[in-house]
Symmetry: C2
Subunit: 195 residues, 2 copies
DNA sequence: AAGTTTATTGACTCGTCAATCAACAATAAC
DNA sequence: GTTATTGTTGATTGACGAGTCAATAAACTT
Protein backbone atom coordinates (compact mmCIF):
# COMPACT_ATOMS: atom_id res chain seq x y z
CA UNK A 1 0.00 0.00 0.00
CA UNK A 2 2.51 2.58 1.05
CA UNK A 3 2.98 4.95 -1.80
CA UNK A 4 5.78 7.45 -1.65
CA UNK A 5 5.34 11.20 -1.45
CA UNK A 6 2.56 10.92 1.06
CA UNK A 7 3.89 13.59 3.36
CA UNK A 8 2.31 16.69 1.83
CA UNK A 9 -0.98 14.90 1.30
CA UNK A 10 -1.11 13.69 4.87
CA UNK A 11 -0.10 17.03 6.27
CA UNK A 12 -2.71 18.78 4.24
CA UNK A 13 -5.40 16.39 5.36
CA UNK A 14 -4.37 16.84 8.97
CA UNK A 15 -4.46 20.61 8.73
CA UNK A 16 -7.93 20.60 7.27
CA UNK A 17 -9.15 18.05 9.76
CA UNK A 18 -7.75 20.17 12.58
CA UNK A 19 -9.70 23.21 11.48
CA UNK A 20 -12.87 21.21 11.11
CA UNK A 21 -12.51 19.57 14.50
CA UNK A 22 -11.70 22.78 16.32
CA UNK A 23 -14.60 24.51 14.64
CA UNK A 24 -16.91 21.60 15.33
CA UNK A 25 -16.13 21.23 19.00
CA UNK A 26 -15.47 24.92 19.51
CA UNK A 27 -12.43 24.19 21.59
CA UNK A 28 -8.75 23.36 21.50
CA UNK A 29 -9.52 20.28 23.54
CA UNK A 30 -9.46 18.07 20.52
CA UNK A 31 -7.34 14.98 20.73
CA UNK A 32 -4.75 14.13 18.16
CA UNK A 33 -6.68 10.92 17.67
CA UNK A 34 -9.83 12.80 16.73
CA UNK A 35 -7.93 14.86 14.21
CA UNK A 36 -6.10 11.88 12.81
CA UNK A 37 -9.28 9.88 12.58
CA UNK A 38 -11.04 12.60 10.63
CA UNK A 39 -8.01 12.83 8.37
CA UNK A 40 -8.15 9.07 7.85
CA UNK A 41 -5.03 7.88 9.60
CA UNK A 42 -3.69 6.78 12.94
CA UNK A 43 -2.65 9.22 15.61
CA UNK A 44 0.87 7.82 15.47
CA UNK A 45 1.15 9.00 11.90
CA UNK A 46 0.04 12.48 12.84
CA UNK A 47 2.80 12.59 15.41
CA UNK A 48 5.19 11.20 12.87
CA UNK A 49 4.61 14.08 10.48
CA UNK A 50 4.14 16.95 12.88
CA UNK A 51 6.01 15.92 15.99
CA UNK A 52 3.56 17.43 18.43
CA UNK A 53 0.06 18.63 18.84
CA UNK A 54 1.19 22.21 19.07
CA UNK A 55 2.89 21.94 15.69
CA UNK A 56 -0.36 20.69 14.22
CA UNK A 57 -2.20 23.65 15.65
CA UNK A 58 0.38 26.10 14.39
CA UNK A 59 0.25 24.61 10.92
CA UNK A 60 -3.52 24.94 10.90
CA UNK A 61 -3.23 28.52 12.02
CA UNK A 62 -0.70 29.29 9.34
CA UNK A 63 -3.06 27.81 6.82
CA UNK A 64 -5.98 29.99 7.85
CA UNK A 65 -3.81 33.07 8.02
CA UNK A 66 -2.35 32.49 4.61
CA UNK A 67 -5.75 31.91 3.04
CA UNK A 68 -6.94 35.15 4.51
CA UNK A 69 -3.81 36.96 3.41
CA UNK A 70 -4.17 35.67 -0.12
CA UNK A 71 -7.75 36.81 -0.30
CA UNK A 72 -6.86 40.29 0.87
CA UNK A 73 -3.98 40.54 -1.56
CA UNK A 74 -6.20 39.43 -4.39
CA UNK A 75 -8.82 42.00 -3.53
CA UNK A 76 -6.26 44.76 -3.22
CA UNK A 77 -4.78 43.94 -6.60
CA UNK A 78 -7.92 44.96 -8.43
CA UNK A 79 -8.86 47.93 -6.26
CA UNK A 80 -8.25 51.38 -7.63
CA UNK A 81 -7.99 54.30 -5.27
CA UNK A 82 -7.70 54.60 -1.52
CA UNK A 83 -11.31 54.18 -0.62
CA UNK A 84 -11.72 51.16 -2.85
CA UNK A 85 -8.69 49.61 -1.19
CA UNK A 86 -10.11 49.92 2.29
CA UNK A 87 -13.42 48.57 1.13
CA UNK A 88 -11.70 45.67 -0.57
CA UNK A 89 -10.00 44.66 2.65
CA UNK A 90 -13.24 44.79 4.57
CA UNK A 91 -15.09 42.80 1.98
CA UNK A 92 -12.35 40.18 1.79
CA UNK A 93 -12.45 39.81 5.56
CA UNK A 94 -16.04 38.70 5.42
CA UNK A 95 -15.93 36.73 2.22
CA UNK A 96 -17.68 33.38 2.26
CA UNK A 97 -14.36 31.56 2.27
CA UNK A 98 -13.12 33.15 5.48
CA UNK A 99 -16.33 33.83 7.28
CA UNK A 100 -17.34 30.22 7.78
CA UNK A 101 -18.37 28.59 11.02
CA UNK A 102 -15.38 26.33 11.39
CA UNK A 103 -12.97 29.00 10.30
CA UNK A 104 -14.38 31.60 12.63
CA UNK A 105 -14.46 29.06 15.45
CA UNK A 106 -10.86 28.22 14.73
CA UNK A 107 -9.92 31.90 14.80
CA UNK A 108 -11.36 32.37 18.24
CA UNK A 109 -9.48 29.39 19.55
CA UNK A 110 -6.25 30.50 17.96
CA UNK A 111 -6.66 33.70 19.84
CA UNK A 112 -6.75 31.75 23.02
CA UNK A 113 -3.80 29.68 21.90
CA UNK A 114 -1.84 32.86 21.38
CA UNK A 115 -2.07 33.44 25.12
CA UNK A 116 -0.11 30.30 25.83
CA UNK A 117 1.99 29.59 22.79
CA UNK A 118 4.73 31.92 21.64
CA UNK A 119 4.52 30.55 18.14
CA UNK A 120 0.83 31.31 17.95
CA UNK A 121 1.31 34.77 19.36
CA UNK A 122 3.96 35.49 16.78
CA UNK A 123 1.72 34.37 13.94
CA UNK A 124 -1.15 36.47 15.16
CA UNK A 125 1.12 39.47 15.56
CA UNK A 126 2.24 39.10 11.97
CA UNK A 127 -1.33 38.96 10.79
CA UNK A 128 -2.29 42.02 12.81
CA UNK A 129 0.71 43.92 11.55
CA UNK A 130 -0.09 43.17 7.94
CA UNK A 131 -3.72 44.03 8.34
CA UNK A 132 -2.76 47.26 10.00
CA UNK A 133 -0.36 48.35 7.33
CA UNK A 134 -2.76 47.30 4.59
CA UNK A 135 -5.37 49.55 6.14
CA UNK A 136 -3.02 52.33 7.06
CA UNK A 137 -1.75 53.07 3.58
CA UNK A 138 -5.08 53.95 1.99
CA UNK A 139 -6.43 55.49 5.20
CA UNK A 140 -3.64 58.03 5.28
CA UNK A 141 -4.95 59.46 2.09
CA UNK A 142 -8.49 59.45 3.38
CA UNK A 143 -8.21 60.46 7.00
CA UNK A 144 -4.79 62.01 7.39
CA UNK A 145 -3.53 62.04 10.94
CA UNK A 146 -6.44 60.01 12.25
CA UNK A 147 -5.43 57.10 10.04
CA UNK A 148 -3.64 55.32 12.86
CA UNK A 149 -6.55 55.19 15.24
CA UNK A 150 -8.93 54.43 12.45
CA UNK A 151 -6.91 51.47 11.28
CA UNK A 152 -6.88 50.04 14.74
CA UNK A 153 -10.55 50.69 15.26
CA UNK A 154 -11.40 48.99 12.00
CA UNK A 155 -9.22 46.04 12.94
CA UNK A 156 -10.96 45.78 16.29
CA UNK A 157 -14.32 45.96 14.59
CA UNK A 158 -13.44 43.12 12.24
CA UNK A 159 -12.27 40.98 15.13
CA UNK A 160 -15.36 41.86 17.14
CA UNK A 161 -17.67 40.91 14.33
CA UNK A 162 -15.87 37.59 14.00
CA UNK A 163 -16.16 37.03 17.70
CA UNK A 164 -19.87 37.69 17.74
CA UNK A 165 -20.53 35.48 14.80
CA UNK A 166 -19.33 32.47 16.72
CA UNK A 167 -22.16 32.59 19.19
CA UNK A 168 -24.93 32.93 16.67
CA UNK A 169 -26.74 29.82 15.59
CA UNK A 170 -27.36 29.94 11.83
CA UNK A 171 -25.05 30.31 8.87
CA UNK A 172 -22.74 33.30 9.20
CA UNK A 173 -23.99 36.33 7.34
CA UNK A 174 -20.85 37.82 5.91
CA UNK A 175 -22.74 40.40 3.89
CA UNK A 176 -24.32 41.84 6.99
CA UNK A 177 -21.01 41.96 8.83
CA UNK A 178 -19.32 43.63 5.89
CA UNK A 179 -22.12 46.18 5.69
CA UNK A 180 -21.63 47.02 9.32
CA UNK A 181 -17.90 47.57 8.95
CA UNK A 182 -18.41 49.58 5.79
CA UNK A 183 -21.01 51.74 7.51
CA UNK A 184 -18.44 52.56 10.12
CA UNK A 185 -15.99 53.59 7.46
CA UNK A 186 -18.64 55.71 5.75
CA UNK A 187 -19.42 57.44 9.01
CA UNK A 188 -15.79 58.20 9.66
CA UNK A 189 -15.31 59.56 6.18
CA UNK A 190 -18.37 61.73 6.51
CA UNK A 191 -20.33 59.86 3.85
CA UNK A 192 -24.08 59.51 4.05
CA UNK A 193 -25.19 56.10 5.34
CA UNK A 194 -28.13 54.27 3.99
CA UNK A 195 -28.63 50.74 2.84
CA UNK B 1 -10.28 25.51 63.23
CA UNK B 2 -13.54 24.88 61.46
CA UNK B 3 -15.66 27.93 61.98
CA UNK B 4 -19.20 27.92 60.71
CA UNK B 5 -20.52 30.02 57.87
CA UNK B 6 -17.50 29.36 55.72
CA UNK B 7 -19.43 28.58 52.58
CA UNK B 8 -19.84 32.10 51.19
CA UNK B 9 -16.27 32.99 52.08
CA UNK B 10 -14.87 29.89 50.45
CA UNK B 11 -17.01 30.29 47.36
CA UNK B 12 -15.99 33.88 47.00
CA UNK B 13 -12.33 33.03 47.34
CA UNK B 14 -12.68 30.30 44.74
CA UNK B 15 -14.41 32.57 42.27
CA UNK B 16 -11.73 35.20 42.56
CA UNK B 17 -8.98 32.63 42.37
CA UNK B 18 -10.58 31.20 39.24
CA UNK B 19 -10.54 34.54 37.48
CA UNK B 20 -6.95 35.16 38.49
CA UNK B 21 -5.81 31.73 37.35
CA UNK B 22 -7.62 31.89 34.03
CA UNK B 23 -6.27 35.35 33.41
CA UNK B 24 -2.79 34.33 34.46
CA UNK B 25 -2.53 31.22 32.33
CA UNK B 26 -4.71 32.63 29.57
CA UNK B 27 -6.54 29.38 29.24
CA UNK B 28 -9.32 27.26 30.64
CA UNK B 29 -6.79 24.52 31.22
CA UNK B 30 -6.49 25.35 34.85
CA UNK B 31 -6.84 22.52 37.28
CA UNK B 32 -9.19 22.61 40.19
CA UNK B 33 -6.15 22.08 42.35
CA UNK B 34 -4.51 25.23 41.05
CA UNK B 35 -7.62 27.24 41.75
CA UNK B 36 -8.09 25.71 45.17
CA UNK B 37 -4.48 26.25 46.07
CA UNK B 38 -4.64 29.93 45.17
CA UNK B 39 -7.80 30.20 47.20
CA UNK B 40 -6.04 28.57 50.12
CA UNK B 41 -7.80 25.23 50.38
CA UNK B 42 -7.75 21.70 49.09
CA UNK B 43 -9.24 20.71 45.79
CA UNK B 44 -11.62 18.41 47.57
CA UNK B 45 -13.16 21.39 49.29
CA UNK B 46 -13.64 23.17 46.01
CA UNK B 47 -15.56 20.19 44.74
CA UNK B 48 -17.46 20.07 47.97
CA UNK B 49 -18.80 23.58 47.50
CA UNK B 50 -19.26 23.69 43.76
CA UNK B 51 -19.77 20.11 42.73
CA UNK B 52 -17.86 20.35 39.49
CA UNK B 53 -15.30 22.34 37.64
CA UNK B 54 -17.88 23.63 35.22
CA UNK B 55 -19.91 25.06 38.09
CA UNK B 56 -16.84 26.89 39.29
CA UNK B 57 -16.33 28.39 35.85
CA UNK B 58 -19.95 29.42 35.57
CA UNK B 59 -19.87 31.07 38.97
CA UNK B 60 -16.77 33.01 37.97
CA UNK B 61 -18.45 34.07 34.77
CA UNK B 62 -21.55 35.19 36.62
CA UNK B 63 -19.34 37.20 38.89
CA UNK B 64 -17.64 39.06 36.07
CA UNK B 65 -20.89 39.63 34.27
CA UNK B 66 -22.60 40.98 37.33
CA UNK B 67 -19.74 43.33 38.12
CA UNK B 68 -19.89 44.66 34.62
CA UNK B 69 -23.67 44.98 34.77
CA UNK B 70 -23.49 46.86 38.04
CA UNK B 71 -20.98 49.28 36.64
CA UNK B 72 -23.12 49.98 33.59
CA UNK B 73 -26.23 50.45 35.72
CA UNK B 74 -24.40 52.82 37.97
CA UNK B 75 -23.13 54.88 35.08
CA UNK B 76 -26.56 54.99 33.47
CA UNK B 77 -28.16 56.17 36.68
CA UNK B 78 -26.31 59.46 36.61
CA UNK B 79 -26.40 60.04 32.85
CA UNK B 80 -28.82 62.63 31.56
CA UNK B 81 -29.92 62.50 27.97
CA UNK B 82 -29.53 59.93 25.22
CA UNK B 83 -26.03 60.77 24.13
CA UNK B 84 -24.74 60.82 27.68
CA UNK B 85 -26.28 57.40 28.23
CA UNK B 86 -24.49 55.82 25.30
CA UNK B 87 -21.25 57.43 26.37
CA UNK B 88 -21.75 56.20 29.91
CA UNK B 89 -22.07 52.61 28.71
CA UNK B 90 -18.94 52.87 26.63
CA UNK B 91 -16.96 54.42 29.42
CA UNK B 92 -18.14 51.81 31.91
CA UNK B 93 -17.08 49.06 29.53
CA UNK B 94 -13.50 50.23 29.65
CA UNK B 95 -13.36 51.29 33.26
CA UNK B 96 -10.27 50.21 35.17
CA UNK B 97 -12.28 47.66 37.12
CA UNK B 98 -13.44 45.77 34.03
CA UNK B 99 -10.62 46.40 31.65
CA UNK B 100 -7.98 44.52 33.59
CA UNK B 101 -5.66 41.85 32.29
CA UNK B 102 -7.10 38.96 34.20
CA UNK B 103 -10.66 40.06 33.60
CA UNK B 104 -10.17 40.54 29.90
CA UNK B 105 -8.35 37.22 29.71
CA UNK B 106 -11.22 35.58 31.52
CA UNK B 107 -13.70 37.14 29.11
CA UNK B 108 -11.94 35.68 26.13
CA UNK B 109 -11.93 32.26 27.66
CA UNK B 110 -15.56 32.46 28.65
CA UNK B 111 -16.30 33.18 25.06
CA UNK B 112 -14.67 29.92 24.16
CA UNK B 113 -16.45 28.16 26.98
CA UNK B 114 -19.75 29.36 25.57
CA UNK B 115 -19.04 27.22 22.54
CA UNK B 116 -19.12 24.09 24.61
CA UNK B 117 -21.21 24.80 27.66
CA UNK B 118 -24.89 25.59 27.42
CA UNK B 119 -24.79 27.34 30.75
CA UNK B 120 -22.01 29.63 29.59
CA UNK B 121 -23.78 30.34 26.33
CA UNK B 122 -26.92 31.28 28.19
CA UNK B 123 -25.06 33.66 30.46
CA UNK B 124 -23.31 35.33 27.58
CA UNK B 125 -26.58 35.66 25.69
CA UNK B 126 -28.14 37.41 28.65
CA UNK B 127 -25.24 39.82 28.83
CA UNK B 128 -25.38 40.55 25.13
CA UNK B 129 -29.11 41.08 25.29
CA UNK B 130 -28.82 43.55 28.12
CA UNK B 131 -26.01 45.43 26.50
CA UNK B 132 -27.98 45.62 23.32
CA UNK B 133 -31.11 46.97 24.92
CA UNK B 134 -29.13 49.39 27.03
CA UNK B 135 -27.60 50.78 23.88
CA UNK B 136 -30.73 50.59 21.80
CA UNK B 137 -32.90 52.81 23.97
CA UNK B 138 -30.76 55.93 23.77
CA UNK B 139 -29.66 55.21 20.21
CA UNK B 140 -33.21 55.26 18.98
CA UNK B 141 -33.42 58.87 19.95
CA UNK B 142 -30.09 59.62 18.32
CA UNK B 143 -30.05 57.54 15.18
CA UNK B 144 -33.65 56.55 14.56
CA UNK B 145 -34.00 53.55 12.30
CA UNK B 146 -30.29 52.87 12.21
CA UNK B 147 -30.24 52.28 15.97
CA UNK B 148 -30.38 48.52 15.59
CA UNK B 149 -27.33 48.18 13.43
CA UNK B 150 -25.50 50.80 15.40
CA UNK B 151 -26.10 49.00 18.66
CA UNK B 152 -24.75 45.80 17.24
CA UNK B 153 -21.77 47.52 15.68
CA UNK B 154 -20.92 49.23 18.95
CA UNK B 155 -21.24 45.92 20.77
CA UNK B 156 -18.91 44.29 18.28
CA UNK B 157 -16.47 47.12 18.65
CA UNK B 158 -16.39 46.75 22.41
CA UNK B 159 -15.80 43.03 22.13
CA UNK B 160 -13.15 43.57 19.49
CA UNK B 161 -11.29 46.05 21.63
CA UNK B 162 -11.36 43.60 24.50
CA UNK B 163 -10.10 40.87 22.25
CA UNK B 164 -7.19 42.93 21.02
CA UNK B 165 -6.21 44.05 24.45
CA UNK B 166 -5.42 40.49 25.42
CA UNK B 167 -2.52 40.19 23.04
CA UNK B 168 -0.83 43.42 24.04
CA UNK B 169 1.94 43.26 26.59
CA UNK B 170 1.66 46.21 28.98
CA UNK B 171 -1.13 47.41 31.22
CA UNK B 172 -4.44 47.76 29.38
CA UNK B 173 -5.17 51.30 28.32
CA UNK B 174 -8.87 51.65 28.92
CA UNK B 175 -8.87 55.34 28.15
CA UNK B 176 -7.52 54.74 24.69
CA UNK B 177 -10.05 51.99 24.00
CA UNK B 178 -12.89 54.15 25.24
CA UNK B 179 -11.71 57.01 23.05
CA UNK B 180 -11.79 54.74 20.04
CA UNK B 181 -15.32 53.57 20.67
CA UNK B 182 -16.48 57.11 21.39
CA UNK B 183 -14.89 58.33 18.19
CA UNK B 184 -16.95 55.80 16.32
CA UNK B 185 -20.09 57.06 17.99
CA UNK B 186 -19.14 60.65 17.18
CA UNK B 187 -18.61 59.76 13.56
CA UNK B 188 -21.98 58.06 13.31
CA UNK B 189 -23.70 61.00 14.91
CA UNK B 190 -21.99 63.41 12.60
CA UNK B 191 -19.97 65.07 15.37
CA UNK B 192 -16.53 66.45 14.76
CA UNK B 193 -13.74 64.17 15.99
CA UNK B 194 -10.68 65.44 17.65
CA UNK B 195 -8.98 64.47 20.87
C1' DA C 1 19.03 -9.72 -3.73
C1' DA C 2 20.45 -7.13 -0.12
C1' DG C 3 20.05 -2.74 1.97
C1' DT C 4 17.85 1.74 2.60
C1' DT C 5 14.33 4.93 2.97
C1' DT C 6 9.39 6.09 3.58
C1' DA C 7 4.78 4.85 5.21
C1' DT C 8 2.00 3.02 8.65
C1' DT C 9 -0.08 1.26 12.87
C1' DG C 10 -1.31 -1.25 17.43
C1' DA C 11 0.22 -1.52 21.74
C1' DC C 12 2.30 0.62 25.45
C1' DT C 13 4.14 4.16 28.84
C1' DC C 14 3.61 7.79 31.66
C1' DG C 15 1.55 11.63 33.42
C1' DT C 16 -2.34 14.32 34.66
C1' DC C 17 -6.66 15.47 36.52
C1' DA C 18 -11.73 15.48 37.85
C1' DA C 19 -14.25 13.42 41.07
C1' DT C 20 -15.07 10.44 45.22
C1' DC C 21 -14.43 8.68 49.81
C1' DA C 22 -13.21 7.72 54.36
C1' DA C 23 -11.87 9.87 58.22
C1' DC C 24 -11.24 13.52 61.41
C1' DA C 25 -12.36 18.06 63.85
C1' DA C 26 -15.16 21.59 65.65
C1' DT C 27 -19.38 23.60 66.59
C1' DA C 28 -24.37 23.49 67.50
C1' DA C 29 -28.64 21.08 69.20
C1' DC C 30 -31.03 18.23 72.30
C1' DG D 1 -22.77 14.07 76.49
C1' DT D 2 -24.51 12.05 72.75
C1' DT D 3 -26.07 13.24 68.14
C1' DA D 4 -26.39 15.94 64.14
C1' DT D 5 -24.31 19.43 61.11
C1' DT D 6 -20.63 21.79 58.86
C1' DG D 7 -15.82 22.14 57.50
C1' DT D 8 -11.75 19.97 55.88
C1' DT D 9 -8.23 17.06 53.72
C1' DG D 10 -5.04 13.09 52.11
C1' DA D 11 -5.43 9.29 49.56
C1' DT D 12 -7.49 6.90 45.91
C1' DT D 13 -9.96 5.79 41.71
C1' DG D 14 -10.76 5.81 36.98
C1' DA D 15 -10.35 7.91 32.54
C1' DC D 16 -8.21 9.80 29.16
C1' DG D 17 -4.62 11.47 26.14
C1' DA D 18 0.21 12.89 24.29
C1' DG D 19 4.00 10.89 22.77
C1' DT D 20 7.11 6.61 21.92
C1' DC D 21 8.37 2.24 20.00
C1' DA D 22 8.78 -1.99 17.78
C1' DA D 23 7.26 -4.21 13.95
C1' DT D 24 5.55 -4.68 9.20
C1' DA D 25 5.40 -3.51 4.43
C1' DA D 26 5.93 -1.31 0.12
C1' DA D 27 8.91 1.12 -2.79
C1' DC D 28 13.42 2.79 -4.43
C1' DT D 29 18.77 2.05 -4.82
C1' DT D 30 22.81 -0.33 -6.16
Amino acid sequence: MPKLGMEPIRKDALIKATIVEIGRTGSLDVTVSQIAKRAGMSSALAHHYFGSKEEIFLAAMRHILSLYGAEVRGALAVAEGDEARVRAILRASFSPGNFRREVVGAWLNFWVLAQTSDGARRLLAIYQGRLRSNLLAPLRGLAGSRAGELAEALGAMIDGLYLREVLKKGTPDGARAARMALAYLDAELGRKNRA
